[in-house]
């Protein structure tokens, strides 16, 4: 692990997080948004693992939390896509900006 | 109308009950395993492997099997038995026979075909021509390897159709003897009754 300074990996996960955030904000398709959220979660996971390896006392905590984060990500995708399916069935569209009943 | 009740209910044909869930499938596996093992030593006719390696070995032809028609000549190909009467041309269901009667120089029809073509690509091997021919001159062959690169090659002219009587004896011995006997009898009857009007065309009882 000493091969790469910690800063480089953190910069990398920051960039990954930024790309995910950009994707979430700009994509019209809800599935596209869900995919970008996955990217952000993964960026957080990388940070967890890197910190666990370099700085924390008990090295397992990072990886255990990473496993929990993956489980939560699976939950978000499952429920998110169930909503997308129900939406598609009733409205025939899955574009975020077309689903605007609440807007006046 | 529904006959469910009217017949005697045969218990025998009640489907056997299955001892446990996987039993039927296991019996199936046993049957295939048995077939797999016995295929190594069982003889062909009681369930062993009966495949024939085609180009090297060949199944013996049955005598009565009919493939494509051919013309018979007695001595030389120039004198076929066929007299170009055209009955087979008329009776052929798919109209694949074309006959042309020969004429000598001053237009008198000779009792010989000038041209006799059979279109093998049309023929459906029904054997009607053999039945209706009064002069026993057209018969069904056993030869089935007639693939050709071009449809024109399947239009067989007379020279290709003519085959000797000995060939006819080789592929269909029983029918050949019966027909030869009939022709000999008709010839004697005709010789005996030469003064009288020649006997009607010989009836060849099909054996």
């Amino acid at each position: 692990m000493t091969l790469i300074p910690v800063e480089h990996v953190l910069i990398f996960s920051l960039l990954l997080f930024a790309i995910g955030l950009y994707g979430t904000l700009t994509r019209r398709n809800i599935i596209g948004i869900l995919i970008s959220i996955e990217l952000m979660l993964n960026a957080a996971n990388i940070n967890l693992v890197v910190f666990a390896k370099t700085t924390s006392l008990s090295p397992e905590t990072g990886q255990v939390f990473a496993v929990f984060v993956i489980a939560i990500a699976a939950v978000t995708v499952a429920v998110g896509l169930a909503i997308v399916l129900a939406l598609y069935r009733s409205r025939k569209t899955i574009f975020a900006d077309e689903v605007h009943l609440l807007k006046w | 109308m529904s006959g469910a009740g009217c017949g005697k209910e045969y218990g025998k044909f009640v489907k056997k009950s299955v001892p446990f869930f996987g039993w039927g499938v296991l019996c199936g596996l046993w049957v295939t395993l048995k077939n797999f093992i016995t295929s190594y030593f069982r003889k062909p006719d009681e369930g062993g492997i009966f495949t024939v390696q085609y180009p090297e070995e060949c199944l013996p032809d049955f005598e009565a099997s009919r493939n494509f028609p051919f013309l018979v000549y007695d001595e030389t190909p120039e004198k076929p038995r066929c007299v170009a009467c055209g009955i087979c041309e008329r009776e052929c269901p798919v109209k694949c026979i074309h006959v042309l009667m020969a004429k000598d120089e001053n237009g008198k029809p000779l009792r010989r075909p000038a041209a006799f073509d059979i279109d093998y690509s049309l023929c459906m091997n029904c054997g009607n021509c053999e039945e209706v021919c009064p002069f026993n001159s057209i018969f069904m062959d056993h030869e089935h390897k007639i693939a050709a690169y071009d449809r024109k090659d399947l239009m067989r002219p007379m020279q290709k159709l003519l085959k000797s009587n000995s060939y006819f004896h080789s592929i269909r011995p029983r029918d050949a003897e019966a027909i030869d006997r009939a022709i000999k009898e008709a010839a004697e009857k005709k010789k005996a009754a030469v003064p009288a009007k020649p006997a009607p065309s010989p009836e060849a009882p099909k054996s």
């Binding site: - | 006959g3 869930f21 039927g24 049957v31 077939n35 009681e46 369930g47 009776e91 009607n128 209706v132």
Partner: protein, 383 residues
């Protein structure tokens, strides 16, 4: 390609697909299209599209002699030619009032029952092939079917296109050697049938797939004119060999197997029982084969000169129990050697009418085996 369901696909919610199980599909037993509206896996609507194999046979019969057309009837139900010849020849004999000698009738029944065994084995084999058994049951069934086809070739000259029946009898006689091979085959077949049944009848996957799929209730079967094993599998006791007692069927005692629920499994098992019954009839017919000529003396001359066979003006309809159902020939004669009109009542075409009622609501995989279980042959449907 104009779509029959254009408006339905737009309106419906969910994943409604319009699929063509097209003319060249591996399991439609020939050239036949099923235009289906599918929602996910379940079928909403099925429209069979036929006519790809129409060869205009009935029109051809109008300028052929009666003996000439017998060769064409072989090509209607091309899996086994004998039942087609049988009903056409029966119709011609009824038209001209020709009676058939004893020996000829026995030979006809022997050949008809052999053809029934050949057909049922092919059908059961192909049905199981659709179910996915990688050819094993099909090849076991075909191993036995080969013996019968050899008998046909030895006797009639061709394995499947027999062209063997003639008006007033049959073309050639059944010699001792043929009888011996038939007896040997009849002795060997039950052993094969038991092995076939152990492989399949209690097979759990076959039961899961075939039981309660494609149920045909007796009422719809009778109303849509279904005949043959498909009708008997629904429990309706209608077998033309029993009702009409045509030819010599009155003399032989045999049973008619009936199913109860009328699903794919019953149609499969009724056919297996029918093979056993046909063997039964075959043994009785072979035992009771009398001596005598194999064709009516008067009509023997017509083989040599078909033009002289001029049936009186009039019409006749004769029907027989072909392995697929009631196969009937209606012949209208105007006194000339060629029939004025000759129409065949093809069981495959009419059995198809119930396909939609059976398929709606089932899965795609079931539609294929339902089609396989009602046993259609496109040569007969399109004629």
């Amino acid at each position: 390609m104009v779509s029959l369901f254009r408006e339905k696909t737009q309106r419906a919610d969910g994943q409604v697909l319009e699929i063509n199980f097209g003319p060249q599909h591996p399991s439609t037993h020939g050239v036949f299209r099923l235009h289906t509206l599918v929602d996910g896996e379940t079928i909403r609507e099925v429209k069979p599209v036929m006519g790809y194999l129409h060869r205009n046979q009935e029109q051809i019969s109008e300028n052929l002699t009666y003996t000439g057309f017998i060769g064409f009837t072989d090509r209607m139900d091309y899996i086994n030619a004998i039942p087609n010849n049988f009903s056409f020849v029966l119709a011609a004999e009824k038209l001209a009032g020709i009676e058939v000698p004893e020996r000829a009738d026995h030979i006809r029944i022997i050949m008809a029952e052999l053809a029934r065994i050949v057909n049922h084995m092919a059908v059961v084999g192909f049905l199981l092939n659709d179910l996915g058994a990688a050819f094993t049951p099909l090849l076991y069934a075909f191993r036995e079917r080969e013996l019968i086809l050899d008998i046909f070739e030895d006797l009639t000259g061709s394995r499947m296109m027999c062209n063997y029946f003639r008006i007033g009898g049959v073309k050639s006689d059944l010699s001792e050697q043929h009888l011996a091979t038939i007896k040997k085959m009849a002795a060997r077949l039950p052993k094969f049938l038991d092995e076939f049944e152990t492989l399949l009848t209690n097979n759990e996957i076959l039961c899961m797939r075939c039981q309660n799929t494609g149920i045909l209730s007796p009422e719809t079967a009778v109303n849509s004119g279904i005949t043959g094993p498909a009708l008997r599998a629904s429990g309706v006791n209608y077998d033309i060999r029993k009702t009409d007692r045509y030819s010599l069927y009155g003399r032989f005692d045999f049973k008619v197997p009936l199913g109860k629920t009328g699903d794919v499994y019953d149609r499969y098992y009724v056919r297996i029982l029918e093979i056993r019954e046909s063997l039964n009839i075959l043994r009785q017919a072979v035992a009771a084969l009398p001596r005598g000529e194999f064709i009516n003396k008067k009509t023997a001359a017509f083989i040599r000169s078909p033009r002289n066979f001029k049936p009186p003006v009039g019409e006749a309809y004769a029907r027989t129990e072909s392995p697929k159902g009631e196969l009937g020939f209606y012949i209208l004669s105007d006194g000339t050697p060629q029939p004025w009109r000759c129409h065949a009542r093809a069981p495959s075409l009419i059995n198809l009418s119930a396909l939609e009622t059976m398929c709606v609501g089932q899965k795609i995989a079931d539609m294929m085996i339902i089609l396989g279980s009602i046993d259609i042959v496109l040569g007969e449907t399109d004629r």
